[in-house]
């Protein structure tokens, strides 16, 4: 992909759009999600709880759009095995725990870091089954994918309001 420095008047097109990973991811993501949502829309009864199924679809779209990463495979497994994925349930409790820990500084430095790495592992789908090094690399692209996902979701939400 070539990047050009543009002045405000010109529009930039990537010559090889399929190589830009963020574009590829976002495109795949919306392609998965939007039809799934539409289908949900059509199929569901009004009595069903939307929340979980939408969340499920959201996570599924994430997992399907990023299949080259280990965490997405884990996520897919989790999703296919259960209808109720819970990737963010313990986030608040984690946060509290982190705050507590950072309060008592100077304690066991290495142990602190170990604990934090474990926390991070919990956040990443499948992180607990990975080694620490692998987890650190996966976290990087997981963060990127999450960012792109939020953008896509935001725009979808905006589109409908």
């Amino acid at each position: 992909m070539e990047r050009q420095i543009i002045n405000k008047k010109k529009r930039v097109f990537s010559l090889e759009p399929n190589k830009n990973p963020s574009a590829v991811f976002t495109r795949k993501y919306t392609r998965h999600l939007v039809p799934a949502l539409k289908k949900l829309n059509m199929n569901k009864n009004s009595s069903q709880t939307n929340q979980q199924t939408v969340k499920h679809e959201v996570d599924m779209a994430l997992a399907l759009s990023a299949q080259e990463f280990a965490w997405s495979r884990f996520l897919l497994q989790k999703l296919s095995s259960s209808k109720n994925p819970t990737t963010t349930t313990s986030s608040s409790s984690n946060r509290i725990r982190i705050l507590e820990r950072s309060g008592k500084e100077g304690g066991d430095e290495d142990g602190e870091i170990e604990k934090k790495l474990k926390e991070l592992q919990k956040l990443l789908p499948g992180g607990e089954e990975m080694s620490v090094e692998e987890m650190l690399s996966e976290i990087g692209n997981y963060i990127k994918c999450l960012e792109l996902q939020t953008i896509a979701l935001k725009s979808i939400v905006q589109e409908t309001t």
Binding site: I6, V12, R27, T88, N94, S137, I151, V157
Partner: protein, 340 residues
Amino acid sequence: MLEGLVSQESFMDMSVLERLKWVQQQQQQLQQVVSQSSNNSPGLFQILQFHGSNNDELLQSTFSHVQMLGSGFGPNYNMGFGSQHEAMDGCISRTSSCHMESVDAMGFMLKNNEENRVIALKNKRKQEVKTSEEEKAEKKIKVEIETESSMKGKSNMSITEASSDTSKETSKGASENQKLDYIHVRARRGQATDRHSLAERARREKISKKMKYLQDIVPGCNKVTGKAGMLDEIINYVQCLQRQVEFLSMKLAVLNPELEINMEDVSAKQFQAYFTNLPVVGASKQSIMVDVPLFPLDQQGSLDLSAINPNQTTSIEAPSASWEAQSQNLYNTSSFGFQY
């Protein structure tokens, strides 16, 4: 002969580090031969000693000798280190042809005496022996580099950059370590060079490299120093992102009945707003920018992506093109890279 000499000289011209790397490749080949050479060590050693002064002849002789050995080398050789360094096992038991370049002749010599220590390595019990030898080797390596006959140093260079002369008995323990996996770890002078600490150091460097990459990704990590703080930031950021996704999906669930998304329309406008932070034509979507409050980001209120690309902006024109074209337009303004 002449060619050998020429190649040798050009080899000298390379930087030390390049030599190291080159040598490592040779080492792998050498190592296979080493095992075999232990059987023939007396003879080879003599040969090497005999030709010690004259590098050129030495190279020739070792080369021919090695070729002989190489043919006998078979897949049955396996150091079987039982160590956790798979690279080591891999290179030891590698059965590629031991096409030996002349340069490593001295390293070859060194390894001859290594046989005992290799076994010690296996058991990891005689590391004291190794360390002392390594130190000797280190000293010799330095001298070697400075002298013309830098051959000796090469095999050990991969282990440590410390000074050295290569002694005839260098503990290859360190060399048999994962350095052959092309992980270059520099042991500074005076630092421990035994296998464990080297492996540990390699591992730590890997991890710190990854932490650096994460630091670039996660906004606000630059201000915090130290692993613990950075990890905290990263954890917070990931949690924020996840919460945001959850929030948005909740919102979507609420809005779902009214979902009338046309793929053509899910567009440029919104994406542009996020990527470039410019006013969007024809829609008052600027409110998006400050909409989601969950991020501890800069005042743009969006993901910090626009900051990633300070140089690029796109003009907001009436989105006439399809979504695909528009999105391409936008996405190439972001400098995402899935780097490792």
